[in-house]
C-alpha cells in the first residue's frame, strides 16, 4: 500500500469539479482512494476522518490538496498524472447551444415540432404498435401500421376509431403503400399515373404495381390494408375506406382491389361498393373467382381500362419460354427428378403459385397449404411439389425477413438441390425500398453452390424465377435480372408465368 499527498498552491477548482475528477481517477487501475479538495479546515478534517491523511498538510483554503492511495507507486504516479493533466487541461469552448436538438421520442412530440405531419408510419415492435397507432389517430394522423403481432381486437378498435375520425388505418402488418408518389415501407418506385390500388396483400400490391409500370401504366395511390382486413372480424373497413378515398380522388380513374380470399359477406359488400363507385374497378381476390384470376391479369385489366381499352385476358402468354427451351430444361433432368420446390419470400406469391400448380399437378405440400391435407409435418423438409413462404412466422422467428436477409433461403436452396427429387427450384426476387440491396447477388452465390452439389451427384437442377421490381428501384430490376440470367435462372415477367413454366418443365404442359 502506497500513498501520495500533493499540494497545488493557489489553484482553485469548484468542489463539484473536484469530486468528479476524484471519482474518475479512482476508476484507474491500482488506485484505491483519491481525493482532490480545496484545503479548507473542514475538508482536511473530512480527509483525516476518512483515514486518508497522515499528518497535517501545509496547505490553506486557497490551495488544492490531492491525496491518492493505491497498490504501488507506479499506479499512484499514473493517478497523479491523470489529475494533474486534467487540472491543467483547458476544455474547448464549444459549449454553445448544447449540440443538436434531440430527436422527438414520440408521435406527439414529433407532431409538436412538425405540425404539418399527416401520416404516421409505425414499425416498432408489435406489442407497442397498437398503442402508437392509437396515439397517431387521436392526434389526427392517418396511419400506416407496418408492425405485425397486433391483436385482431386492437385492429378492430383502431379501424373503428379511424372510421369515427375519418382517418385511414393501413395495417397492422401492412408492408407497403405508395401515397402521393412516396413509397412507404417495402414499396417499389413506379411511374405515377391514374390507377389506384387497395391491397390486403403486400407482395400482391408490389407485383401489380410493378407490372402496371412495366405495361406502361402508372399508379395514383397504392393503399395497403393489412392481411386480415377482409376477414369477417375486421369487415374490410380499411379496404372500404380506401375504395371510397380512391373513388373520390380526382387523380384516380381506375381502381384495383387485391386480396387473398376474403370473407364472403365482406367480399359481397366490397363488390357492391365497387359496382356503385362510379369508376372501373378490377378485382383480384385470389382463389375467390371472378375478375382477375392472377395478379398479372389484374395489372393487364387495369392498364387496359386506364387506356380505355379492353384487355385480351384469354390470350395472355402462358409463359415466355418457347417449346424448345422447355424441352431442353426437361431433358436435362434425370428420371427421379420430378418435383418443384418453390422457395418464396412473398406470401401472396406462394399462395398464387399453389393456386396455379394444384390444378396442373395435383396437391401441393406447404407450410401454409391451400387444403389442410397439404400441410408439411416438418416445414424444414420438402416433399413432392412443395411451395413455402419463408416470410411465414415459423421461419422468421428470431431472424430477419427473407426479403432483407437471404441466408435462410440460400441454405434452403442448397438443401433442395441436394435432394434427388428436385427438378425445379422456383424463386421470387422482390426489389424496392426496404428489400436487400442486392438480392440477385445473394441468390446467385447460393445457386452456384447448389449447382455444384447437384453436379457432383450427376444432376442438373432448373432454376425458374421472376423479379418483382422496376428499373427505377434502388436495386434496378434490369441489372438484377442480368445477374440472375447469368446464374442460369430462367426468368419470367410475372409470378403466374414462373409457376406455369415450372409446371411445364416437370411435365404438366404441352
Amino acid at each position: 500500500m502506497s500513498a501520495l499527498q500533493k499540494i497545488f498552491p493557489g489553484m482553485y477548482r469548484d468542489s463539484v469539479a473536484l469530486m468528479r475528477l476524484s471519482a474518475e481517477a479512482s476508476e484507474l487501475p491500482g488506485i484505491e482512494a483519491v481525493s482532490a479538495i480545496m484545503a479548507t479546515e473542514a475538508n482536511i478534517a473530512l480527509l483525516a476522518e476518512a483515514g486518508l491523511l497522515d499528518g497535517l498538510p501545509d496547505a490553506g483554503p486557497n490551495d488544492l490538496l490531492l491525496v491518492i492511495q493505491g497498490g504501488d507507486d507506479a499506479a499512484i504516479a499514473a493517478g497523479a498524472d491523470f489529475i494533474e493533466s486534467a487540472l491543467n487541461d483547458t476544455p474547448d469552448a464549444g459549449g454553445e447551444g448544447g449540440g443538436e436538438a434531440a430527436l422527438p421520442h414520440s408521435v406527439e412530440a414529433a407532431l409538436s415540432s412538425q405540425p404539418a405531419a399527416n401520416l404516421a408510419l409505425i414499425s416498432c415492435p408489435g406489442e407497442y404498435a397498437g398503442a402508437e397507432a392509437m396515439k397517431a389517430l387521436r392526434l389526427g394522423l392517418d396511419v400506416m401500421l407496418f408492425s405485425d403481432n397486433v391483436s385482431v381486437a386492437d385492429e378492430v378498435a383502431l379501424k373503428t376509431l379511424g372510421d369515427e375520425m375519418g382517418r385511414l388505418v393501413m395495417g397492422p402488418d401492412c408492408g407497403t403503400a405508395i401515397i402521393n408518389g412516396v413509397p412507404l415501407g417495402f414499396a417499389n418506385v413506379v411511374r405515377p399515373g391514374n390507377i389506384g390500388l387497395v391491397a390486403a396483400s403486400g407482395t400482391g400490391l408490389q407485383q401489380v404495381s410493378c407490372l402496371i409500370d412495366d405495361l406502361g401504366g402508372g399508379i395514383s395511390q397504392a393503399i395497403g390494408t393489412g392481411g386480415r382486413d377482409l376477414k369477417s372480424e375486421v369487415g374490410g373497413r380499411a379496404m372500404m375506406r380506401g375504395l371510397e378515398m380512391l373513388a373520390a380522388d380526382t387523380g384516380t380513374e381506375v381502381i384495383v382491389l387485391i386480396s387473398k380470399p376474403p370473407d364472403a359477406d365482406v367480399a359481397k359488400r366490397l363488390m357492391d361498393m365497387a359496382e356503385n363507385c362510379g369508376k372501373p374497378v378490377v378485382i383480384n381476390f385470389l382463389g375467390a373467382g371472378g375478375g382477375a384470376a392472377t395478379l398479372e391479369e389484374a395489372a393487364h385489366l387495369a392498364v387496359a381500362a386506364a387506356n380505355g381499352e379492353t384487355a385480351d385476358i384469354a390470350n395472355l402468354p402462358r409463359h415466355n419460354l418457347d417449346a424448345d427451351g422447355v424441352a431442353k430444361a426437361r431433358a436435362a433432368l434425370g428420371p427421379a427428378q420430378g418435383s418443384i420446390r418453390a422457395l418464396y419470400s412473398g406470401g401472396t406469391f406462394a399462395y398464387e403459385t399453389m393456386l396455379i400448380l394444384q390444378p396442373l399437378l395435383g396437391p401441393i405440400w406447404s407450410s401454409s397449404p391451400l387444403d389442410p391435407d397439404g400441410l408439411l409435418d416438418d416445414p424444414w423438409q420438402s416433399r413432392g411439389h412443395t411451395v413455402i413462404d419463408l416470410g411465414d412466422d415459423i421461419f422468421t422467428r428470431g431472424r430477419p425477413h427473407p426479403m432483407i436477409d437471404h441466408r435462410l433461403r440460400g441454405e434452403r436452396i442448397v438443401q433442395e438441390a441436394a435432394d434427388a427429387e428436385t427438378a425445379v427450384i422456383l424463386l421470387d426476387v422482390v426489389l424496392g425500398y426496404g428489400s436487400h440491396d442486392d438480392p440477385a447477388g445473394e441468390l446467385a452465390a447460393a445457386i452456384g453452390e447448389a449447382r455444384d452439389i447437384a453436379e457432383a451427384a450427376g444432376r442438373w437442377v432448373n432454376f425458374v424465377g421472376f423479379v418483382c421490381g422496376t428499373d427505377a428501384d434502388p436495386q434496378n430490376a434490369a441489372r438484377q435480372a442480368e445477374v440472375l440470367t447469368g446464374a442460369g435462372v430462367l426468368l419470367t415477367p410475372s409470378n403466374a408465368q414462373a409457376a406455369r413454366l415450372a409446371a411445364d418443365i416437370v411435365g404438366s404442359g404441352p
Partner: protein
C-alpha cells in the same frame, strides 16, 4: 369526415425502422424521424393507458387551467410563524416528514433520527430511549408535510414548536410553509439530534425566527419569484446551488432587520448565521415552489404533477386531479458524487421534499442556469443545456418568469404532464443531496437522479381509470 391525405404534401412521422425514413426522403416526401423508445419504460399496459389519454380534450382543458394557476402564482415570503399555529390540521402531537406517507417502523435512519430529535426538542421526552418508546407507542401522529401545505428538505421533519417560513400566493391566496435551514454538517434534517443540534434549533426558534419575522414585517414581504429569477441569472438553479439567492435575500433582510428595533447582538447573530450557509435560501425556494404548485393542485381531471417527493423508502408523486393520492415506487439510491470516504453503499435512498423545485421547473430542470454544478450532469455546460431542453419535452410549457440565459432566455420547462413522461419514457431529472443511511452522519454526497417510471405508470393508469369512470 374524410382524410385529405391525397391533397396535401406527404409528411410522415416515422416510428421504428430508420431506413423507411430514408426512403421517404429519397423519394421526395418529408420524413420526421423519431428516437422512439417503448413508452412507460416498456410497461405495455401503462403504454396502452397513455395512448387512450393522448389529445384528450377534457384532460387538456384541465391541464391548461392548472398550468395557468401555476404561472399566475406570486409567492410572497410574509413572515415566520410557529408550525403548530400555521400548518392547517397539525395537531399538537403531530410531526410531519418528507415524501409520501410512511409508517414509523418503516422509516429510514435519518428520518427516524430526526423524529427522535424533534420529540426531545419538543420536550415530549427527555432522552432518546423515551423518545423512541413514544414514537413506538403510536401517540405521535406522523404525516407527510405535503398533507399540511408544507415541505421540508431531507427528513423534512416539522414539529409544532418549530419556526416555519410563511409564504402566501398573493394571486390565489393559498398558504405554504417550510422550516428554516439549519446549515450543513450535524443537523436535524439528516437525523442528528445531539446537544449541539438541539441547541441550534432552540436558538433558531428564539432568535432567528424573531429577527426574520421582524425584518419581513418591516419589508412587508419579499417576492420569492423575483429572487429566483435573478438567481437563475447568477448561477443558481435554486435547489443544489443557492449561493446567489441567499446573497440576494441577505441583501434585502439586513437593512430591514436593522430597522426592526430588535437587539443588535441578536440581529448580528442572525445575519452571521445566514451568511454562513449558502443554502439558507433553499427552504424559501421550496416553500415558493410549493406555493406555485399548490395553486395548480386539485383541478379535476388534470394530469399535471404537483409534487415529487421522497421519504427515504419510497419516491412519490402527486397529480393535480388526484387529490391526496400518491403514486409511489421504491426510492432509488443516487449514483452521484460522494465526499471522501463515502460511497453508494453508505447512502440512504433518495430523500426529501426538495424535488418540489424540479416539479416547479427549477433545480435539475434549470441546470442550464448553473454552470458551477454542471459536473453532476456530465461535466460541460452543453450537457446541462441538453438536460434543460430535454425537460421541455415532458412539460406542458415554460415559465416566462423564470428564464435561462443559456437557452436564449427561454423560460424553464414547467408543469410536468404524467402522460408526456410515460409517452416518451423521458423521466424528470432531479438534483439532490445524498444523506448517509444512518441517522446523524449528514450529507455524504450529491448528484442527479431521475424520478422512477413506476410512479408515472401508476398515475397514467389512474388517469385512464378516472376517465373511464368519470
Amino acid at each position: 369526415m374524410s382524410s385529405d391525405l391525397f391533397h396535401s404534401d406527404l409528411s410522415v412521422v416515422n416510428v421504428g425502422l430508420g431506413s423507411f425514413a430514408d426512403a421517404i426522403d429519397g423519394a421526395g416526401g418529408q420524413a420526421i424521424r423519431t428516437d422512439w423508445r417503448p413508452p412507460a419504460g416498456g410497461d405495455v399496459d401503462a403504454g396502452a393507458a397513455v395512448a387512450a389519454l393522448i389529445n384528450d380534450a377534457q384532460i387538456d382543458a384541465a391541464n391548461e387551467t392548472a398550468f395557468a394557476n401555476y404561472l399566475a402564482a406570486q409567492p410572497i415570503l410574509e413572515g415566520v410563524g410557529r408550525a403548530g399555529d400555521c400548518l392547517p390540521g397539525m395537531g399538537e402531537r403531530t410531526i410531519t416528514h418528507s415524501g409520501p406517507p410512511v409508517a414509523w417502523q418503516d422509516m429510514c435512519g435519518p428520518v427516524k433520527g430526526a423524529i427522535i430529535g424533534a420529540i426531545i426538542y419538543e420536550g415530549w421526552a427527555a432522552d432518546e430511549a423515551v423518545a423512541q418508546a413514544l414514537a413506538d407507542s403510536g401517540e405521535v401522529t406522523f404525516a407527510p408535510c405535503h398533507h399540511h401545505n408544507a415541505v421540508g428538505p431531507m427528513a423534512g421533519i416539522i414539529s409544532p414548536s418549530m419556526p416555519v417560513w410563511i409564504v402566501k400566493n398573493s394571486s390565489s391566496g393559498n398558504m405554504s410553509y417550510c422550516t428554516l435551514n439549519e446549515g450543513l454538517g450535524r443537523v436535524l434534517r439528516f437525523g442528528a439530534f445531539d446537544g449541539e443540534v438541539l441547541e441550534r434549533l432552540n436558538w433558531m426558534q428564539d432568535v432567528l425566527a424573531r429577527v426574520m419575522d421582524a425584518a419581513l414585517d418591516v419589508l412587508g414581504g419579499i417576492d420569492i419569484k423575483t429572487i429566483m429569477a435573478q438567481a437563475l441569472h447568477m448561477g443558481d438553479e435554486v435547489h443544489n446551488r443557492n449561493a446567489a439567492a441567499t446573497s440576494l435575500l441577505i441583501k434585502a433582510l439586513i437593512p430591514a432587520a436593522l430597522r426592526s428595533g430588535l437587539d443588535q447582538a441578536e440581529i448580528a447573530a442572525a445575519i452571521e448565521f445566514m451568511a454562513g450557509n449558502d443554502h439558507f435560501f433553499l427552504n424559501i425556494s421550496m416553500a415558493g415552489c410549493k406555493s406555485m404548485l399548490d395553486a395548480a393542485h386539485g383541478i379535476a381531471g388534470s394530469t399535471i404533477v404537483t409534487a415529487m417527493s421522497r421519504n427515504g423508502v419510497e419516491f412519490g408523486i402527486r397529480v393535480s386531479g388526484a387529490g391526496d393520492q400518491w403514486f409511489t415506487a421504491e426510492a432509488p439510491v443516487v449514483d452521484g458524487l460522494y465526499f471522501p470516504g463515502y460511497s453508494m453503499a453508505d447512502a440512504a435512498p433518495d430523500l426529501g421534499d426538495s424535488a418540489i423545485t424540479e416539479t416547479a421547473g427549477l433545480g435539475g430542470f434549470a441546470m442550464a442556469a448553473s454552470p458551477a454544478i454542471v459536473q453532476f450532469v456530465g461535466g460541460t455546460p452543453a450537457d446541462a443545456i441538453l438536460r434543460s431542453r430535454e425537460m421541455q419535452q415532458i412539460t406542458l410549457g415554460r415559465n416566462p418568469a423564470l428564464t435561462l440565459p443559456a437557452l436564449n432566455f427561454g423560460g424553464t420547462a414547467a408543469a410536468i404532464d404524467v402522460r408526456k413522461v410515460a409517452d416518451q419514457s423521458v423521466l424528470p431529472i432531479i438534483n439532490t443531496g445524498i444523506a448517509h443511511k444512518e441517522a446523524g452522519i449528514g450529507q455524504i454526497g450529491a448528484g442527479i437522479t431521475r424520478a422512477p417510471m413506476e410512479c408515472f405508470a401508476k398515475a397514467v393508469r389512474w388517469a385512464a381509470d378516472n376517465k373511464a369512470g368519470g
